[in-house]
Symmetry: C2
Subunit: 475 residues, 2 copies
Amino acid sequence: MKAEEFRRHGHDLIDWIADYLENAEVYPVLSRSQPGEIRDQLPQHPPEDGESMDLILQDFREKILPGITHWNHPRFFAYFPANNSGPSILGELLSAGLGVNAMLWQTSPAATELEETVMQWLGELIDLPPGFHGVIQDTASTATLCALICARERVTSHSINKWGADGLAGTGSLRIYTSSEAHSSVLKGAKIAGFGSENVVMVETDKNLAMDPECLDRRIEMDLAGGLVPCCISATVGTTSSTAVDPLVPIGEIAKRHGLWLHVDAALAGSAAIVPEHRWIFDGIEAADSLVFNPHKWLLTNFDCSAYFVRDPEHLQQTMAINPEYLKTKQDNRVNNFRDWGIPLGRRFRALKLWFVLRNYGAARLREMITEHIGLARDFGRWVDESQSWELLAPVPLNTVCFRWNPGGLDEDELESNNKVLLDRVNADGTTYLTHTKLRETYAVRVAIGQTNTREKHVVQAWEKLNEVAAIING
Amino acid sequence: MKAEEFRRHGHDLIDWIADYLENAEVYPVLSRSQPGEIRDQLPQHPPEDGESMDLILQDFREKILPGITHWNHPRFFAYFPANNSGPSILGELLSAGLGVNAMLWQTSPAATELEETVMQWLGELIDLPPGFHGVIQDTASTATLCALICARERVTSHSINKWGADGLAGTGSLRIYTSSEAHSSVLKGAKIAGFGSENVVMVETDKNLAMDPECLDRRIEMDLAGGLVPCCISATVGTTSSTAVDPLVPIGEIAKRHGLWLHVDAALAGSAAIVPEHRWIFDGIEAADSLVFNPHKWLLTNFDCSAYFVRDPEHLQQTMAINPEYLKTKQDNRVNNFRDWGIPLGRRFRALKLWFVLRNYGAARLREMITEHIGLARDFGRWVDESQSWELLAPVPLNTVCFRWNPGGLDEDELESNNKVLLDRVNADGTTYLTHTKLRETYAVRVAIGQTNTREKHVVQAWEKLNEVAAIING
C-alpha cells in the first residue's frame, strides 16, 4: 500500500472512529445479526487480485458493522466492560505501526523498559506494597494459568516441569481452593495445567457471596487428612457475578500457615483500588504471591491489557524459561526478557497504550471515573431495593448490581422464566445490553457499569427500560 | 479525550506512521539503547493530573523511539520477520476503535463469522485438504501448547483434564517427539501442560537438519518397550534455525500406525505454501491433527495473528470448555464460541486486519512477495557458497540462510569467536540486524529475509557489510 493511500484511508478511519465513539449510541448495542447472516454475505474464496480499500471499508460498514455488538455503547451493561478511550486507541495504532515483537529486551529495549515503568506506576496507583514485579499479559485467564503453574512447580520443587506426572510420584493430588463464585478461568487453568478439574475445591461462600475462610481452612484440613496435597488458593476480589470480595486478611493467614500459593484474581475490581475509598478490597494483599487485574476492563485501556504482579519472578521465570541458542543475547543477565514471564514467546508492545492512558488522563481523572461508576451502581441498587416490584439479590460493593423482577406471588421457577423473558426483551430492543448470572441457584439479571461514556442518564434509561418491559410482560 | 483532539492526534499519528514506514531505513535497525537507559528517562511515578498528547507524543519521539528495534526496517534480517503493512495497521486501528471482545459469538457475531471466513480463505490459500477448522491464536507457542494439551487429553480419554496426575495412574509417562531442531515452544508447552521436559524426546535429524523418520520410529518403539506412553509428534515445517522441513509423509504414517497426535509447527514457513512451487512443504499434511502458521510473520499482518487449524474441534472444545452461567447465550448450540478454542477467555477482533490484508493485496500479490523473498535468500546463499571466505552451513529451502565467515586456517573455537565478533560489529553498525544460532554444535550467522520492504539492494548491502566487517577483522 502506497504511503499516500495509507494516509488517505488512515485519516478517514480516524474520523470514522472519532464519530463512532461520539455516536455509538445510535447503534443497537447488542447486534441483531442471526447466526450465519454475516458469513453468508462474505465470499467463500479469497480474492486473487487486490481490491481497493474503499471497497473493503464500504463492505466493513455495510456487512460487518451490523454484526458488531457495541462495547463502546454507553448502555453496554453486560458482562464486565472493556472500556476504551482515545489515547488508548492511538497507542494501539502506534504499536501496530511500529510492529515490534517485544519478546526480548533487545528486540525493542523501550518496549520492555516502558512496560517495567507503567507496571510500577500501576502498582503505585493501587497502593501495592513493595516487593511485587509487574508484567503485562493478554488476559486474566492467562495470568491465572501462570499463577497455577507456578504454584504447581513451587510445591513440587519444579519436578512436574521436569518429570511430568512422575514428579508427583507418591505425593497425592495437588489441590486448588477457590470460591464457588470464582471465575471459570480457575477451573480452565486447572484443566490446562494438569491439576484436573476434580482437584479444584469450590469453597463455600458467606451471605455476601465471598469466600468463607473457615470453610477454606476446613477443606484444607480435610484434604491433608485424606493424603491430598494443598497447593494454591485463588481468591477473588470482585467476583464475576456480583463483585463479591473474598477477605484477603484471613485467607492470607491460612495460605501462610499451610504454605500455599495465594493468587488474587481482581480482574475487574482491581482498578477500583486506585480510589482510596475502595482500596479496602486489597486489605491483606501483602500476603499474595500473585495478583492480576485488567486495565482493559475498567481503566480506559482497550482490550487486551492485563496487569500481572508476582512476588517472586524467579518462580515465574524458572517455570516458563526456555533458552535456545537463537534467542540468546549479550544482555540476558542484565535485563528482563519478558518472554520468560508468560506463555507466548512473541509479545505485542502493549505498554505504549497504557502509558498514553495513564499520562493523558492522570491519576485524578481515572479516580473520578471509578468513583462515578460506583456511585451510579449504588444509585441503581437503591432504586431496585426501594421498588416493590424488584428485588436486590446481592450487595453492591462496586459497579455491579444483581437483581430480579419480583412483583410478588410467583414461585422460583416462574421468577426465573419471567426474568429470562424480561432480559431477552430488553436486549432485543437494542437500546440496552444486560446479561444474567446465577447466584447459588437464583437467576439474576446483572447491570455492570463501567463503559467510558456511561453517564447517569444512561443508567436511568436502562432502569426505565426494565420497568417498561416489565409492565408489558405483566400485562 | 474530546473527538477533535482524537482527530488531530490521530491524523498526526497516521502521517507519522506513513513517513515512518517509508523511511524506517534512516533509523539504526537494532536499537543502540543500553540497559536501563530508557527507564532512567521516565518518571518513577504516574502523573496526578493529565498531560497533553502533544507532550506525550514528543516524549515518544525523544525518549521511546531511540529504544525501538525497527522490525519495519528493510535490513531487519534477525530471527524471523514480523512483517507489516498499511492495510494491517488500519485493520488493527479499526479493531482498537471497535474495542470488541470476541469471546462469544454474541459479543460480536461479525468477529466470529469473519474469523471463520478468513481462516477458510487461509486454508484454501495453502491448499489445506478439507476437514480442518481454523481459529486465530496470539502466537504459535500458544497454539502448540493447545495441541499438546489436546494430545494429552485424547490419549487419556480426557482423564487428566478431570483427575490430573491421577488420570495417569499406572499408565506411565506421556511422551512427546519432536526434532532436535524444533522450536523451544514444544519444550515450554510440555512444561506448562505437565508432560515434563524430560518427556520431550528430541529425535535426531538428517543431513538437512530435518527429523529422521527412522529415528522417530525407533524412539517410539523404545519407549513402548520401556512402558512409556507415546502421545504426540510435533513436526516442524521450517525450523527456526534453518527452515529445515520435517518430512510429513513418513512422519504421518508413523503417527497413524502408533495412534499419536500429529501437530505441525509451520510458524514461519506455512505462508510459503501459498505459492504452488513451495506447497511441497505440506506434502502429507492430511495426516495432521493440528497445524499452526503465523500470518504475523510472513503474510503482511502485523503481530499478533497466528492461524491454528485442527482436524477435530471437538477435542479442542472439550479440553478448553468452561460453561459458567454468566457466559451462556441462547445461540450456544448453533454457533462457535471461540472462547472454547484456546486459552484466554477474552479475544481481540484479529480477523479484521487479516481480512484487510488478504483483500487489499489479493492472493497473487502475496505469492509474488513470498517468491521474491525466497529468491533473494537463494541469491544470498549462492553468494556465500561461491565465496572462498564464507561457508554455507545448511541448505536454503526457503527464506533463511545459515553461514559463517571461514577464511581458512581457523579451528572450530576460533571460527566461533571470530563469527561472534563479526556479528556484534555488523549489528553495532546499525545498518543491518542479523542474529545467530547453532546447528548441532556449529555457531552460525543467520539471515532471514521477509520484511515487507526488503528488496535486492538491501540484501546486497547486508552482504557487503558482512564482507566489509570481515575484512576489518582480518586486518
